[in-house]
């Protein structure tokens, strides 16, 4: 496979980037308090995965992964909408989007 050889050298680089993105997203989701930011972090994680998928698909030279990426985007979009609406509803109830406010359910 030519494609593979052309990208092969820098495969690790792409993978590293997507790993880094994923980790950043995860850590962000873990540390940040603002729901919107949380949502963004999770989107970031998804996109990291997308990047990785694309990388692999060029590496293998077959297109399934890229199709998958489109699905993932759609899913991400759907999640974003649902998530935002949930956030709005939550805001209506607690007048705050700081997730630390949301801990009446525990133990």
């Amino acid at each position: 496979m030519q494609a593979a050889s052309s990208i092969g050298t820098s495969l690790d680089f792409f993978l590293f980037v997507s790993f880094a993105l994923f980790t950043i997203g995860a850590i962000g989701a873990m540390t940040r308090k603002n729901m919107i930011v949380l949502l963004m972090c999770i989107e970031l994680m998804l996109n990291a995965v997308n990047l990785m998928l694309v990388t692999f698909s060029t590496y293998y030279g077959n297109g399934d992964a890229q199709i998958f990426v489109f699905f993932t985007m759609v899913v991400a979009a759907a999640e974003a909408t649902v998530g935002l609406s949930i956030i709005i509803m939550a805001y209506r109830n607690l007048k705050s989007i700081d997730i630390d406010m949301y801990n009446q359910l525990k133990n």
């Binding site: 729901m35 998928l53 949930i86 109830n93 607690l94």
Partner: protein
């Protein structure tokens, strides 16, 4: 496939019929859709899946679909009171449930990771909405928020795992993945880490330690009606997906992950049952007991050839639904175990169903739960004997939880209040009880 189609169509129809603001109409449509889907799956019989070589192990897709449809039917019947309460949206709720059921069916029998992921999302997203169904209540909102974020976080993890697997094998087709792995790519850390990430995702879906955290809070915040659906269908779909993927595709690496799985089992059972002991809210109690039961379900992985998961999940689902229905009778808005005092005296059917379901959950003969547990352990004991012993010890603790619940429920109150059962509730209760006893004949 056609069951999914039927479900989808009936969902749509229900959605539009919902505008009529006639709850009865929508429930009828929903039930028809579910029954139709079940029948379709039944007549379709066992279709030849790519994994057909393991059909002995995985029950035919038909069976799972029938189970899922039945459970959902019971769930929507049991929750009908709640849904009918605001007839603005009855149709929407039912439609959401039907849609997510399509996702569940897609997810439970994956032969393609892409399809699996989409099924997962189709299953999850409507539930995010359903959890937040109580617009007024902050608890419901919080539950929705927690479920949404943890859930999408988990799907990101699963996605990552899928990507890694793809990277290792270059395909999303499970059958191909397996064949590729079989030729020794197992040495590659990428594949293993990918599979581990997948495992994490599954564990999250069925809510086992250490990915169980969403469980109690979300169950607590959600309404009884949603709980009936969520506590059962999601788990069934998740565990079957897990069993299919790991029991089949990663079977060659059994020796690698079985210890981790055993660890998960033991942790979940002990944590679930022990923590359930101190709960004061019924839904949290059910949540923790479902964590423990998730642990038990994973036993199906111990023997990748002739494990019989079906009986157990069915028993679990029926018992849970019956209990939640009973809970919805006393705890419609509140949710506290105090109200369970003497609940069995309100109606004989309640008493019978309650005792049967609790004993079935506790795994005491001659109820379905015992045979489910038995068939799981039967397959597991030769492979992971020590895990089985620990699991049994844990289930003693579990029996304590259920027995205490039963004792408070059976306590004869000073003045006996009779509370009438609505038609569909009594239907659900009697069906579940009959199923729990009738299991005797299916073994």
């Amino acid at each position: 496939m056609d069951s999914i189609v039927i479900l989808f169509i009936s969902g749509l129809v229900g959605l539009f019929a919902g505008m009529q603001k006639k709850p009865l109409l929508s429930i009828i449509i929903g039930s028809i859709g579910l029954i139709g889907a079940g029948l379709a799956a039944y007549f379709k019989g066992s279709y030849i899946s790519p994994l057909s070589s393991y059909e002995a192990y995985v029950p035919t897709q038909g069976l799972i679909v029938i189970l899922l449809c039945t459970v959902t039917l019971l769930a929507i019947l049991g929750g009908y009171k709640r849904y009918a309460a605001d007839n603005e949206h009855t149709g929407d709720y039912l439609a959401l449930i039907l849609f997510s059921l399509c996702g569940a069916i897609l997810m439970a029998q994956p032969n393609d990771l892409m399809l699996f992921f989409i099924g997962l999302e189709i299953l999850s997203i409507p539930i995010y909405v359903l959890v937040g169904i109580e617009k007024g209540s902050s608890r419901s909102a919080e539950a929705a928020v927690k479920y949404f974020f943890t859930g999408s976080f988990a799907s990101a993890i699963i996605l990552f795992g899928i990507a890694l697997l793809y990277g290792a094998t270059g395909s999303f087709q499970l059958i191909e993945i397996q064949s590729n792995l079989a030729i020794g790519i197992w040495q590659s850390p990428m594949a293993i880490i990918g599979s581990l990430f997948l495992l994490a995702g599954f564990t999250f879906k069925i809510g086992a330690v250490p990915f169980h955290f969403w469980g109690p809070d979300v169950y607590d915040g959600a309404s009884n009606a949603v709980l009936m659906y969520m506590a059962t269908v999601v788990k069934i779909a998740g565990i079957y997906a897990l069993v299919n993927v790991f029991g089949q595709v990663f079977r060659d690496s059994y020796g690698f992950w079985i210890d981790l799985v055993s660890l998960i089992i033991v942790l979940s059972m002990f944590y679930g049952y022990i923590t359930a002991w101190k709960q004061i809210s019924f839904r949290r109690l059910i949540a923790y007991s479902s964590i423990a039961n998730a642990g038990l379900m994973i036993f199906a992985l111990a023997d990748t050839h002739n494990s019989n998961l079906f009986l157990f999940v069915a028993a679990y689902a029926f018992a849970t639904i019956a209990l939640v229905v009973i809970n919805s009778i006393v705890n419609d808005d509140t949710d506290s175990l105090v109200n369970w005092e003497g609940i069995a005296w309100r109606h004989p059917l309640i008493g019978i169903a309650l005792v049967i379901s609790l004993f079935s959950l506790a795994g005491i003969p001659p109820f379905a739960g015992f045979f489910g547990k038995f068939s799981l352990l039967w397959a597991a004991v030769p492979h992971v004997p020590y895990t089985a012993i620990l699991a049994l010890i844990a289930s003693v603790i579990g029996a304590f939880v259920y027995l205490r619940l039963m004792m408070s429920a059976l306590k004869k109150p000073s003045v006996v209040v009779r509370s009438p059962l609505s038609l569909e509730q009594s239907l659900v209760l009697s069906l579940t009880s009959i199923a729990a006893i009738g299991a005797l004949y299916f073994i």
